[in-house]
Every structure is written in structure tokens, then in C-alpha cells.
């Protein structure tokens, strides 16, 4: 059971799963870093994006990996509109209200999906879904490898946007000093909405990477979002490298703990890490001390 032939593939598979977790967490941490609230609608948006990817494939026959290019901008707009026209105005600038509004949106999206599609679980069949690549010492599933690469491409793109564009500079300015940014002529409501849109676009890409090997039902996103919360807390709220490293770490932890403890208790392992990190070091591994 502890032999390297089992452990190494488990760790590698954990890293591959962790990359997608990291992408979900990246969206969450981006929003937290700028708006300073936890987006409780993140999981529901992930579920919605998974349904979108599912129907785009079934109705239009578009491969999920290509659909990502289509769904990312669509969900950027959705996220932008949600923040600009619902969350922002509804919460009157109060953090507690913002939390509640995102929770309300989550409840609406999740249950509207339940109402429309019932609790049925759906999957899509892709020719390459079960293909794997032989690395000599282990086999790794092709869709997961593609996902792993795509996550790092997205992270790189985000890093370029944040570092080298005007909008990225504006986002960083608002994250650091909202009032100062506003005085410098930055439209804070617009930047908030752009950030929310970027976070939602991350979720749409994550959904497209998940759908080839995962299932979708109205609560599918929840499994990921609690993991994403853990990652964000572990990596430090608002820290992008933290989200990546945290995501990979949690992927490995989950893979190993379900190897040793079984699937259900493996989940508890994640939550225990979550609670312990929150209690011991709420600022996370990469975050500044709160």
C-alpha cells in the first residue's frame, strides 16, 4: 500500500486534479483580493458553467476545450453584470450585505438549475475521455494533462493582464487603496465588476476542463467550491501564487487521504486542514498578516 508504484501515481494524479482546483480558487482569490469579500456564488457559477459546457457540446457539438474560448468571455460578461448591476447596488457598500447577496445569488442559480434540469446527473462521452499516456512508470489520463497545461496557461495570462495592462494596474491599485485609486480617476465600480468578471471567467474555463471527465448536476460545483475555499485560505486570501500552490497541495492531500481513508473521509481531511489553517494562521501561507 505504501509502495512507490502506488504513491507516485497518486501524487501525480493529485497534482493534476489540484490544478483544476487551483483554477477555481484563482477566481475566488482574485475577487477576494480586490473586493475583500468571499464570493459565495462561486460554486453555483461553476455549476452553471458546467451545464453550459455540457449543452454546448450536446447541442452544438463543440468540444469542451474549444468551448472554453467561447464560455470564458460569456461568463466574464455574466460576472461583470452580476457585480455591476446586482451585487454592487444591492449591498450598499456593506461587506456583510455583499456576503448575503452572493449567497442569495448562489441559492437562486443552484435551485433554478435544479428546477430546470432536476437532480439528474449528466455526463458527456468524448472519444479521448479515457485515453491515457504511458510515462513508463505510470499512466496519466490525457484530459487531466490537458487541464493541467491549460490551468497554467490561464494563470500566465492572468499574470500578464495584471502586470502589464492598464486594467491590471487599475485592479491592483483598487486592491491596495480603494480611495486613492478613486481619487486618481479610476472607476472603482467598473474595476470591481471587471475583477468579478475575471473570477467568473476562471470558473467557466475550469468547468470546460472538468466536464470531459466529470459529471454535472445542480450541486456539482459545491464539491469544488468548498475545496476552493480551503485552498484560498491555505494559500492566503487574495494571493495568486498562494492559490496555485495551495491548489496543487490540496489535490495531493485529497488524493493521498482518499487512498488511505476512503473517499468520504478524504473529504473530511480537507475540511480539517481548512479549519486548522483558519484557526492557526488565517492569513494563510502566502498572505500578509491580517
Amino acid at each position: 500500500m505504501f509502495s512507490p508504484t502506488i504513491l507516485i501515481p497518486a501524487i501525480l494524479n493529485g497534482l493534476l486534479t489540484g490544478a483544476v482546483y487551483a483554477l477555481v480558487a484563482l477566481g475566488l482569490t482574485l475577487i477576494y483580493g480586490v473586493l475583500h469579500i468571499i464570493n459565495f456564488a462561486h460554486g453555483a457559477l461553476l455549476t452553471a458553467a458546467m451545464f453550459a459546457a455540457y449543452f454546448v457540446y450536446r447541442e452544438l457539438g463543440i468540444d469542451p476545450y474549444i468551448a472554453a474560448l467561447l464560455l470564458a468571455p460569456v461568463f466574464f460578461v455574466v460576472g461583470y453584470a452580476l457585480q455591476r448591476f446586482v451585487i454592487g447596488p444591492a449591498s450598499h457598500g456593506d461587506d456583510r450585505n455583499m456576503l448575503l447577496v452572493t449567497l442569495g445569488i448562489a441559492v437562486v442559480i443552484e435551485n433554478a438549475l435544479l428546477f430546470a434540469f432536476r437532480a439528474d446527473t449528466r455526463t458527456i462521452d468524448l472519444p479521448y475521455a479515457f485515453q491515457s499516456i504511458d510515462f513508463g512508470f505510470t499512466f496519466l489520463a490525457l484530459p487531466r494533462l490537458v487541464g493541467f497545461a491549460a490551468v497554467f496557461a490561464v494563470a500566465l495570462a492572468l499574470w500578464l493582464i495584471m502586470g502589464f495592462t492598464d486594467i491590471g494596474r487599475a485592479i491592483r491599485a483598487v486592491a491596495k487603496e480603494k480611495l486613492g485609486a478613486e481619487l486618481a480617476g479610476i472607476d472603482v465600480a467598473h474595476i470591481y465588476a471587471v475583477t468579478f468578471g475575471l473570477g467568473t471567467a476562471c470558473v467557466a474555463i475550469a468547468a470546460c476542463l472538468l466536464i470531459p471527465t466529470y459529471y454535472v448536476n445542480p450541486s456539482a460545483g459545491n464539491a469544488f467550491v468548498l475545496v476552493a475555499f480551503t485552498i484560498v485560505v491555505l494559500g492566503g486570501m487574495g494571493s495568486v501564487p498562494g492559490a496555485l500552490v495551495g491548489g496543487l497541495a490540496i489535490g495531493v492531500v485529497e488524493s493521498l487521504s482518499s487512498l488511505f481513508l476512503g473517499d468520504t473521509l478524504g473529504q473530511i481531511g480537507i475540511f480539517l486542514i481548512f479549519i486548522v489553517v483558519l484557526l492557526v494562521r488565517p492569513s494563510g501561507l502566502f498572505g500578509a498578516r491580517a
Binding site: 450598499h92 456576503l99 448575503l100 441559492v107 435551485n111 468548498l226 468520504t264
Partner: protein
């Protein structure tokens, strides 16, 4: 005494309902609404007066429900005693969760997250632990006798839950009038300033969480006695965490009567949604979610806040609402 008069009037009016209405459908609706109101009253102590928004009050509801059920079914404990133990267990969970989170200084988003995570851990544990009946859940034997806390007549159940709600209303009013209540609202308004004035914020929040946990647990205890069944999805599901926070926020957060008013409105809306579209799953929750957003958007202080605002605008037109509005 004048402070308590509105509570007595509301309790008396609600108490008279079964004497006039004999429809089981109506009584069942009211029983469930009052149960949700009770869960919301628990949330309101911590969230409404203390400003600590918990997204995981299912942790208390579920613990109360499971303790009541498991003590009776597995250990043959008397139902009334089991009920009391359930409430105590809710308070204990409040002490543990509150002790851990407040001591490490978690606030705002972090507090909401950690409460959510605790509820989720308990749900997973309850879905695998043999003592809770794991995935199958726990059934309480039908035993329609007063000593088993089960009643043939819905009216009696109704009076039991109404008594609990009234007790919670009185506790809320007492807290509101007490020094402890003043500290609690001071922490809500500005925790750092309160601490600078010598308020022990951690202890105050912890006390509120214990009371809050006990009250919400009582709703869970009542749930099992009424439905005679509990499983992990019901006990620790997100539905109850959401309804517990929804009722005070819609009714009027940090007011005595907010959760009760909110629960009646929320449940009526839920019933209306079901009646319009048949028994489709999820629709009632869609309505709740929309109502939550709309209320925060347009009357951040809930219906009671909205009413007192209207009263301010229209002078004395709504004068009879004054007592409740002050609550």
C-alpha cells in the same frame, strides 16, 4: 413590563389560532413557519445583535435534532429529557465553535466561512457515523403520548412550538435590555471601538453564540419530535443554514420580532411558489434567494425597518406598528 406587552399580545393572538382554525394544512404551515422562526431567532442573537453572520447554523439545528433522536432511539432516554439535552448540545457546539473562531480573531468573511465548514464537517461525519444511522438516518418510533413528547393533535404541537418561540422572544427582549445586549450591539457597530472602551469582545461574542446555538438547536429538537425522522442532509443541510439567516434578515435584522415576521413571510412565499408551479423541486428556494437579494437591496433593515421608515414618511398613519417597529 411595558416592554414585554407586545410579546404577550403576539403570543396570545397566535395562540388563539387553533381555536378558530381547524385545518391541518394551515396548522402544519404555521408549525413549520414557527420552527423556522425559532431557528432564525437563534441566528438573530448572534447575527442580528452581534453582527457575526453565520452561514452554518445547520451545525446547531442538526446537533439538536440528532441528540434528541439518538438519545431516545439508542439509549431509551425520555423524550423531554432528550429534548433538553439537544438544546444543551447546541449550546456546547456554540461554545466550541465560538471559542475556536473568536479566540483566533476571525471576523466577517472568515467567520461565515468557518461556520459553513463546521456544518459541512458535521454533515459528512453524520452521513458515515453508525450512531446517527449513517446514510439511512434515524427514525423515532411513533408513540403518541405526552410523556413521549408526541401528540395526536397538531394544535398541541403548535402550542409547544409557539411556547418555545415566545420564550425565545422573551430571551431576545431581555438581552436587548441588558448590559450584555449593549455590549453585543457595540461589538456589532464597531468591534475595535468597543474593545477600546473595555468591552471584552471575545467573551461577549462567545456568550451570544452559546445562546444562539441553544435556540437554533431547540428548533432542531422540535423538528425530530414533529417529523420523527432525521438524516444528515436534513440535519446539517444548507437549507436550514439559509432559512435561519433568511428569516431575521427579511423580517428585520437585530429586532425582536424580525425572525417571526420573516418566517411567516418566507414560508408563505414558498407555499405560494409551490402552489403556482406544482411540486417542482427548488422553486421555493429560488424565491427565497430572490427575496433575500431584493430585501437587502431595497430595505436593508428588513420589513420591520421598512415599515418604520414608511411610518416616518407618512407620519402617524402606521402608528399601531410602533411597538413592533421599536422591537
Amino acid at each position: 413590563m411595558k416592554e414585554f406587552a407586545p410579546i404577550a399580545i403576539v403570543a396570545a393572538l397566535l395562540g388563539a389560532v387553533p381555536l378558530l382554525v381547524h385545518s391541518n394544512v394551515v396548522l402544519n404551515f404555521l408549525v413549520v413557519a414557527l420552527m423556522i422562526a425559532l431557528a432564525g431567532q437563534g441566528w438573530n442573537i448572534l447575527g442580528g445583535y452581534g453582527g457575526q453572520y453565520s452561514f452554518g447554523h445547520a451545525a446547531f439545528f442538526g446537533t439538536g435534532a440528532y441528540v434528541t433522536a439518538v438519545l431516545q432511539v439508542r439509549y431509551g432516554v425520555n423524550a423531554w429529557l432528550a429534548f433538553a439535552c439537544g438544546i444543551a448540545a447546541g449550546a456546547a457546539v456554540g461554545a466550541v465553535v465560538g471559542g475556536l473562531t473568536f479566540r483566533s480573531g476571525l471576523r466577517g468573511s472568515y467567520f461565515a466561512l468557518v461556520t459553513l465548514a463546521f456544518a459541512e464537517v458535521l454533515r459528512i461525519l453524520a452521513s458515515v457515523a453508525p450512531i446517527t444511522g449513517a446514510g439511512v438516518g434515524t427514525l423515532i418510533k411513533l408513540d403518541l403520548r405526552a410523556q413521549a413528547l408526541q401528540f395526536q393533535s397538531r394544535a398541541v404541537f403548535y402550542w409547544v412550538i409557539l411556547a418555545l418561540v415566545t420564550l425565545a422572544l422573551l430571551i431576545t427582549r431581555l438581552i436587548e435590555r441588558s448590559r450584555f445586549g449593549a455590549w453585543l450591539t457595540a461589538v456589532r457597530e464597531n468591534e475595535d471601538a468597543a474593545m477600546a472602551l473595555g468591552v471584552d469582545a471575545t467573551t461577549v461574542k462567545l456568550g451570544a453564540m452559546v445562546i444562539s446555538g441553544a435556540i437554533t438547536a431547540a428548533a432542531g429538537c422540535f423538528y425530530v419530535q414533529y417529523f420523527l425522522f432525521i438524516d444528515s442532509g436534513i440535519a446539517y443541510g444548507t437549507w436550514i443554514s439559509i432559512e435561519a439567516l433568511l428569516t431575521p434578515i427579511i423580517g428585520g435584522v437585530g429586532t425582536v420580532f424580525g425572525p417571526l415576521l420573516g418566517a411567516l413571510v418566507v414560508k408563505a412565499l414558498g407555499e405560494a411558489a409551490q402552489a403556482v408551479t406544482g411540486d417542482a423541486p427548488g422553486l421555493d428556494l429560488v424565491v427565497y434567494g430572490c427575496v433575500l437579494v431584493v430585501v437587502i437591496w431595497f430595505t436593508p433593515r428588513g420589513l420591520i425597518g421598512g415599515i418604520s421608515e414608511l411610518r416616518g414618511r407618512f407620519g402617524r398613519l402606521a402608528a399601531p406598528m410602533r411597538e413592533i417597529g421599536h422591537g
